[in-house]
Amino acid sequence: MLDLQSVSRTVGGEAHIVDVSLRLERGTLNVLLGPTLSGKTSLMRLMAGLDAPTAGRVTMDGKDVTGVPVRRRNVAMVYQQFINYPTLTVYENIASPLRIQKRPAAEIDAAVKRAAELLKMTPYLDRTPLNLSGGQQQRTALARALVKQADLVLLDEPLANLDYKLREELREELPRIFAETGAIFVYATTEPQEALLLGGHTATLSKGRITQFGETTAVFRRPRDLLTARTFSDPPLNVVAVEKAGRRFSGPDGLVFEAAAAHAGLADGAYLVGIRPHRLTLAGSESAGFEATVSLTEVTGSETFIHADFGHERIVALVHGIRRVETGDRVRLTFDPAKVLVFDRTGSAVGEPAALAA
């Protein structure tokens, strides 16, 4: 178990990581989700021991490893760039961590062959990395991380430089390949969709802080605050300012809807409502809804993204099927009040969490 206790890191007066506490169990996949510069890489460097925290403690299986440099920890790392030894063959690249550990040749051979098999690199073992495609180069780097049998495997946006389809393939394979090793996996990404596809646990990051950590779907469905909800939403979360009076929420442009059971008990006052794009329907049968002016439609073949202006907000709706609506059209977008997120003025999620499922 890797345990970060109130870890901070400040560089030249600039806070890179602020008071992060995180507990990662063995055999789990943990996603760090956040935009560029949110602190994902900084946090990974602290976990690896490449940097020492300026405050706080890091323990591994109960042992204090704060400040213990990376060489003395059993850590493997895979980066966005495909990093391999250019002059060594794929075989030697994969074998390199074991050669450093001076393992017997037979053991190395078996480990390399097993890893190559899992990552579908067996036909390429004799090639050098420069004669491989990007996907194969990254598979080589992943295989090297795999044979090392590290306690902690850090994957820093490992698929970002790969083609969309290759990404899909590897994303599906990775959790299963690594699950067998019993190590702690940490996977950094900027894409909410990738976190959801990987499953496991997710920590959302914003400006060096962890805003929430938990099971991936739980964080997605029940974000603790607006910041988490925004970080974990692609397309972007639609946010509408509303006023609650009695059992009703009322918003701009005559938007009025009955509060769902989960929100019925909230005190009267100002709130923010977050509606995920896929929860909006074009002229659906739901009771709640509003009129908006279409600014753009994008068709993906099976779905349509409708960008529309409502009040002062730009709204995105993801609707099924191909819907031809023209720019400037007025459309009615409807939603189920039970499937929206409600935040108070400070941005904290309110309502009974168990009943929320946005």
Partner: protein, 363 residues
């Protein structure tokens, strides 16, 4: 603005490769209509960037001609072709301000100063960078820099086409949405011919009116997003577009039904004219429904992935992998059958679509 005609283009990077028959582009014969938004979509090494560079003039094709309207531009340089290009990594002039960056192509073309001023001011407004006009360009964020590269193209009145080479690669997901929709709005305003290269299906499908799907140096299908989704002409298109891609099930035909690993799936009147060697049934996960036992073809469900807006069911149909995408919150029975929406069934012979009238899509 111009219509771009690619007249039987073939390209090999060296004469040796051409002699060996190794073409990066095997044969492209196609027109991009004036004012259209096109995407070139395909995996790395499919030739999409080669094709883009041939259009822009950074490469001269080994064979064939490029025409802008009726003018043969095959041997003209990029500047003589009057095209603009936005690259994968933002290219900006570091030492200049945002305003100077936008003025640069006009200054080089000796446009009068007063006109430069008004055109640049107008462009700053359109790309939403008025507030940062006099800042040094190098201090800006990646998406702002990409807007500057785009603005440098749009600011010219003589541009025949704007080419994009994976312009959103370095942009964060949230900004991608915004930038992409701004791009579309700019396209609508300026009505310029735009060609957009990407490996990302979402970008291609949302940006383009027509998507050109490329595979191994060839165009496999040109179509609207709907056509690519509903009637992929080749199994590659089915696999490459959609996430997860199309289920491709090897089958044989038996009196109006496809037999997949022993299970019979009725076909809605689509039969091939001949009986070619290899027949596959293609069905997108979106057209697969999970229904109670007894009302479809029996499947074994391996796992269900909850991806937020939908659930992906990974199942097996007598051993053959089958994915289904569910968009409602209905519970999934443990013992389940799969049923297929008839409008979502496509038949492939030797990987090419068998059209509804029985002809093969290829040839």
């Amino acid at each position: 603005m111009a219509r771009i005609r690619l007249d039987h283009i073939r390209h090999a990077y060296t004469p040796d490769l051409a002699r060996a028959g190794t073409y990066a582009l095997r044969e492209v014969d196609h027109s991009f209509e004036d004012g259209g938004a096109y995407a070139l979509l395909g995996p790395s090494g499919c030739g999409k960037t080669t094709l883009l560079n041939i259009i822009s003039g950074l490469l001269t094709p080994s064979e064939g001609h490029v025409r802008f309207d009726d003018r043969d531009v095959t041997r003209l340089t990029p500047e003589a072709r009057n095209i603009a290009q936005v690259f994968q990594f933002p290219v900006i002039y570091d030492t200049m301000t945002v305003r100077e960056n936008l003025a640069f192509p006009l200054k080089n073309r000796k446009v009068p100063a007063a006109e430069i001023r008004t055109r640049v001011a107008d462009m700053l407004r359109r790309i939403g960078l008025e507030a940062k006009a006099d800042r040094k360009a190098r201090g800006l964020t990646a998406d702002e820099k990409q807007k500057i590269s785009l603005g440098r193209g749009l600011v010219r009145s003589d541009v025949n086409a704007i080419l994009f080479d994976e312009p959103l690669t370095v942009i964060d997901p949230h900004m991608k949405w915004q930038l992409r929709s701004e791009l579309k709005q700019l396209h609508r305003e300026f009505a310029m011919t735009m060609v957009y290269v990407t490996h990302d299906q979402t970008e291609a499908l949302t940006f383009a009116d027509k998507v050109v799907v490329m595979h191994a140096g060839e165009v496999v299908q040109i179509g609207t997003p709907e056509e690519l989704f509903e009637r992929p002409r080749h199994t590659f298109v089915g696999y490459f577009i959609g996430s997860p891609g199309m289920n491709i099930l090897p089958c044989r035909l038996e009196d109006g039904a496809a037999v997949v690993s022993g299970a019979r799936i009725a076909l809605p009147g689509i039969l091939p004219a001949r009986t070619p060697g290899r027949i596959e049934l293609g069905v997108r996960p979106e057209f697969v429904r999970i229904v109670p036992r007894g009302s479809g073809v029996p499947v074994t469900i391996d796992r269900v992935e909850d991806v937020g807006s939908e659930r992906i069911v990974r199942a097996r149909l007598n051993g053959a992998p089958l994915s289904a995408v569910l968009r409602d919150d209905a519970p999934i029975p443990a013992e389940a059958d799969a049923s297929f929406a008839p409008e979502g069934l496509n038949l492939y012979a030797e990987s090419w679509l068998v059209e509804r009238d029985g002809r093969l899509a290829h040839g």
